[in-house]
């Protein structure tokens, strides 16, 4: 119960957390010396592909898993020593919407409210905005809800005891685009009420909704910054290229020595050149030389996904 006073502004402090799993005799590193801090009242995103270690990290933080090394604290409480206190302060929504399918919406919510020592009425104002959307179905069994409604109910259940830190593990996976957008709006409103939110997602486009994001890959954090700051780290010019025959275009770029990286993005390829000297004209003339038709090349500003790809390539080298 020793409250650390190192940083009163931080809601979550993670310090060199490592975790290894044994998978059929070989060891898999799920988390490799992960460190970061989340400020009070911040909406912090952890973005990374499947298997990058997001769920393991959240399970360590929610005191469900013990890390092999390193330490972390939530609201000043140590995740190993003070796990009982942390479990009272935390709202956690696991990756699968963990609800009782044979209980109704209302029964699920009141059950979770009761086991966290509160009642629906007590914290109704906190979940009102979200709960009102599913209230018409409150007598329906949770198993019969759509993905978006399940997600809203799970969020209500995680919020019902008024946690000071909310941890959401891929809350938007498997949910339609409209519900996803609504969900992020809800997170913004919760943030406005002063709740610290730690959310993971595999979708790059959602990263821009966070105050700060950590890009995660193979159990390591590649970068932590504000979404637009991360894009600024992208130093080289980025080109969007399109031609009539896209497949052979990709093969050509892969072979071309002057290209640093090339990946598909919508109907374009995003291309980074090794040297800044190879600009628009250089690319165009090279492609003409290779007999491509309908060539289109223009410079674009990097988005979060471009930054992520660049950081990933860098960490591979």
């Amino acid at each position: 119960m020793v409250k650390s006073n190192s940083n009163n502004m931080s809601a979550v402090i993670v310090n060199n957390i490592s975790k290894k799993y044994k998978v059929e005799k070989s060891q898999v590193t799920a988390l490799n010396t992960v460190s970061f801090e989340v400020l009070k009242g911040e909406l912090f995103g952890i973005v990374g592909p499947d298997g990058s270690g997001k769920t393991s990290l959240f399970r360590v933080l929610t005191t469900l898993l013990l890390a092999d090394s390193g330490n972390a604290s939530i609201e000043g409480y140590d995740i190993v020593k003070d796990y009982k206190i942390i479990r009272k302060k935390l709202g956690y929504m696991p990756g699968r919407f963990s609800l009782y399918h044979d209980l109704t919406v209302e029964e699920n919510l009141s059950f979770f409210a009761t086991i966290f020592n509160t009642s629906i009425a007590e914290n109704y104002d906190l979940i009102k905005d979200i709960y009102q959307q599913i209230e018409p179905f409150k007598h329906r069994r949770a198993g019969k809800l759509s993905g978006g409604m399940k997600q809203k109910l799970a969020l209500c259940c995680a919020l019902i005891h008024k946690p000071s830190v909310l941890i959401l593990d891929e809350p938007t996976t498997g949910v339609d685009a409209v519900s996803r957008k609504e969900f992020w709006e809800m997170l913004q409103r919760l943030k406005a009420q002063g709740i610290t939110i730690l959310v993971s997602t595999p979708y790059m486009d959602e990263a821009s909704m966070c105050d700060r994001v950590a890009l995660m890959q193979n159990g390591q954090i590649l970068a932590i910054d504000k979404p637009d700051q991360i894009n600024l780290q992208f130093s080289k010019p980025l080109w969007a290229v399109k031609a009539a025959s896209m497949y052979s275009l990709l093969k050509t770029f892969k072979k071309w020595q002057a290209v640093e990286s090339c990946y598909s993005f919508g109907e374009y390829y995003h291309v980074v050149m090794k040297s800044d000297l190879n600009g628009n004209d250089a690319i165009k003339s090279y492609l003409l030389q290779q007999q491509f038709l309908d060539i289109e090349v223009h410079q674009i500003t990097a988005n979060i996904e471009d930054s992520f790809m660049a950081l990933m390539n860098k960490s591979h080298d």
Binding site: L65, Y83, S98, S110
Partner: protein, 368 residues
């Protein structure tokens, strides 16, 4: 405490809304008692027999009369000659034929010796054996009745008395057995499945993160099944008293308390199983193989433990059902009190405390 009751209420919802499982849970004792009581019995009742009476005199008709009056035989078919014997057996309905030769009454009265032939269908040796024994007993009875009129110099009368179960009813031994079996199944298997289900659904993650203490979670999970098991005990006892005529000779309160104790032992076993498995299938397999089999085989109600090889006899001591079976038999059939079952009761209490302690200790406050 409020959290605890909310959890118990939730468990009841789970059980109540899964109508199919509930039906099986509550229907199982009824079907088991009915199957064991009326179908799976090695008692012989109303076996069809045929009479081939060549003598047709007063003595022979008296004997036939005595046979058909008994509840074991149904002597409806009457044959007239030996040629009919084989075809009758081939049809398979008749299990035994009583052949009375000519001059039966005359031989009996004047020659001091008369012969009777019993022809049995030996394709089912057990039934044939039982039938011939029953028939011999009836014939002996008949003989004694005649002999009583004359005085013989030497005679030994064997007077057999079956204590506690004079009619040798099978129900007296299987009712305690079925009780042990059903309590084991509902309590151990259903609780282990119910807990593992939470792990599978992912709800265990949230419950672990909640301020609920593991001890409360485990107890709250077990309570609904305990109540359900006591309903089953009541069903079994009602059925055995009113349908199978098995009496409860000892104290009902003592019997119910022992039932509750064994239920708790089984629940503890179920909790232990749930803490070492992560999937419902594995939990079910362990419960079936690890509990169901020893309960039927090693508890002593199907096969006598005294006849088993020594290692199995030693192993049977580890099976809680063995002790419970012996307790129920002592209280229900023999009508004895706690002073005769305190040793078994203590062993069960010891097992329960050990299993409960182990499962609480094994219950993980984290995921791995």
């Amino acid at each position: 405490m409020k959290q605890f009751f909310a959890f118990v209420k939730k468990e009841f919802f789970h059980i109540w809304r899964d109508k199919r499982t509930l039906f099986i849970l509550l229907g199982m004792p009824i079907t088991q008692i009915i199957i064991f009581g009326f179908a799976l019995t090695n008692e012989v009742k109303n076996s069809k027999m045929a009479i081939l009476d060549f003598s047709k005199d007063a003595a022979s008709s008296q004997l036939v009369q005595k046979m058909s009056v008994s509840k074991y035989f149904d002597a409806t078919t009457v044959l007239t000659n030996y040629q009919e014997v084989l075809p009758v057996f081939k049809k398979g309905k008749i299990k035994m034929i009583l052949v009375i030769p000519q001059h039966f009454a005359n031989d009996l009265q004047h020659g001091n010796q008369a012969h009777i032939q019993l022809i049995c269908d030996g394709s089912d040796p057990n039934v044939a054996n039982t039938l011939s024994t029953y028939a011999s007993a009836i014939i002996k009875d008949f003989q004694t009745a005649i002999v009583k009129e004359q005085k013989l110099p030497y005679r030994i009368e064997t007077d057999i008395r079956m204590m506690y179960n004079p009619e040798l009813k099978g129900a007296y031994s299987f009712v305690p057995g079925v009780m042990a079996l059903i309590l084991m199944l509902t309590s151990a298997m259903m609780t282990s499945i119910a807990i593992v289900k939470e792990k599978e659904m992912g709800t265990m993650e949230i419950i672990l993160v909640s301020p609920l203490r593991p001890f409360s979670v485990v107890i709250a999970k077990a309570i609904p099944y305990m109540i359900l098991s006591m309903v089953n005990v009541a069903t079994i006892l009602l059925l055995s008293v009113y349908v199978l005529d098995v009496p409860i000779r000892g104290s009902l309160l003592l019997l119910l308390s022992e039932g509750l104790l064994f239920t708790i032992t089984s629940l503890a076993l179920g909790l232990l199983i749930s803490s070492i498995t992560d999937s419902q299938q594995v939990a079910m397999l362990i419960s079936l193989m690890g509990l169901f089999l020893p309960t039927t085989v090693l508890s002593g109600y199907m096969f006598p433990i005294e006849n088993m090889p020594l290692p199995l006899q030693v192993m049977s001591n580890l099976v809680p059902a063995k002790w419970f079976y012996s307790i129920v038999k002592t209280i229900m059939i023999k009508g004895l009190g706690l002073s005769y079952v305190w040793k078994e009761t203590l062993i069960l209490i010891g097992m329960t405390v050990f299993l409960f302690g182990l499962s609480i200790k094994k219950f993980k406050t984290r995921l791995s």
